[in-house]
């Protein structure tokens, strides 16, 4: 290990249970026990929870889950995020400028990097490291925005975060912006689900996003329960929705009917 060691810490690695190990971070690699992983080979990184514990998931040719002491978790995460295998662009960004349709009052423009891996987009600065899975990306477009009192061309990314539609803005020189837009469009098209939706399906998706329940959607679209179930199946099969609850439909037995009869007679 000839390269400079930045950090050495006890850690746990998940292998059908937690196993004690040591993590050494150098300027070129991670050493997890005896295993060496070059930073440039790390394809993806996620902050995840495993068994209720905050962990770092690293993906190179396989996935590794690391549990680190709480006080250095963020430091290691940031270091890997800045050094993983990605195309990195120096930009200013405004991450989560709007959340669920409401403009975030607290966020500010950050100077940092916009980084693109095979599976995610990253906003990186010294205090901010946010990953957007490419599957969560909804649209990419250029638009003029007021930045520090001047109208500037920015890239507007809409993406999903905890079931909210979020927009984030990227600002960089216009030539870079053009290149970044076409590059992201190619990445986006590659990941786009190959499905075309009917008008009803588009409306049903919108209603689900808005938070309407099954019965309200039935009424609004004007279709039967069976028809809506079929639409739901198609949306689930297309990977656009997932089943969270299965409703029970029941009818009364003769005993139940007799009970209602008694109830109504007081």
């Amino acid at each position: 290990m000839s390269s400079k060691v930045h950090l050495r810490t006890p850690a746990k690695i998940y292998n059908e249970g937690w196993v004690d190990t040591e993590l050494v971070v150098t300027n070129e690699s991670l050493f997890i026990g005896k295993q060496k992983i070059s930073l440039g080979e790390i394809e993806d990184l996620e902050d995840i929870e495993k068994e209720g514990i905050r962990c770092i998931q690293i993906k190179n040719d396989k996935k590794l889950i690391l549990q680190l002491p709480k006080n250095i978790h963020q430091q290691v995460f940031r270091f890997i995020a800045f050094n993983l295998k990605a195309d990195k662009f120096a930009v200013y960004f405004l991450a989560s400028a709007t959340v669920g349709g409401v403009v975030s009052a607290t966020v500010q423009w950050e100077k940092g990097y916009f980084s693109v891996t095979d599976e995610g987009l990253w906003f990186l600065s010294s205090k901010y490291q946010q990953r957007i899975p490419i599957d969560n990306l909804g649209s990419i477009k250029k638009d003029m925005r007021d930045v520090g009192g001047k109208q500037r061309m920015v890239l507007v990314l809409s993406h999903v975060e905890k079931s909210n539609v979020v927009t984030s803005l990227v600002l960089c020189p216009e030539s870079t912006l053009e290149m970044l837009e076409s590059y992201l469009m190619r990445v986006f098209e590659r990941h786009k689900p190959a499905i075309s939706l009917s008008e009803n399906e588009k409306q049903i998706l919108t209603l689900i996003y808005s938070g309407l329940d099954f019965a309200s959607i039935e009424n609004m679209i004007g279709i039967s329960t069976d028809e809506l179930n079929e639409y739901y199946d198609r949306l689930v099969n297309a990977g656009l929705a997932k089943v969270v609850k299965i409703r029970k439909e029941i009818e009364l037995t003769p005993r139940g009917v007799s009970m209602v009869d008694k109830i109504s007679k007081g």
Partner: protein, 120 residues
């Protein structure tokens, strides 16, 4: 409960907003499908709050906002815009809009924004 006038050129969006707001206990004063209708209905219905789409035929939401404000400077108008129309939102706020919601919207956020504006 507060009376809301819903203005949007798509029937689907009007129905969705009506469903969300009615479910939250608001009264729906009426619906308009363009800015011109909105101004007329506002004068007659005197709603407590208006949800105003921006891009509409006949008269845009911005023009309707100006006209409503000219007859009632205290009118409470919440603009409904699509992602990418934030510039228009700023113009609307300068013209006196009290709030905005960005499509696609989620019911709790819409209710929160309307309650905030009604409660001012």
């Amino acid at each position: 409960m507060a009376k809301v006038l819903i203005v949007d050129d798509t029937a689907f969006m009007r129905k969705l907003l009506k469903n969300i707001l009615f479910g939250a206990g608001f009264d729906i004063a009426g619906e308009a499908e363009n800015g011109k209708q909105a101004v007329e209905l506002y004068k007659g219905l005197k709603p407590d709050v208006v949800t105003m789409d921006v891009v509409m035929p006949e008269m845009t939401g911005i023009d309707a906002l100006k006209q409503i404000k000219s007859v009632d400077k205290d009118a409470k108008i919440v603009m409904c815009t699509a992602v990418g129309q934030e510039k228009i939102v700023k113009t609307a706020i300068k013209l006196g809009a009290r709030g905005y919601i960005i499509k696609p919207f989620q019911a709790p956020k819409v209710i929160e924004e309307i309650k905030k504006v009604v409660g001012e």
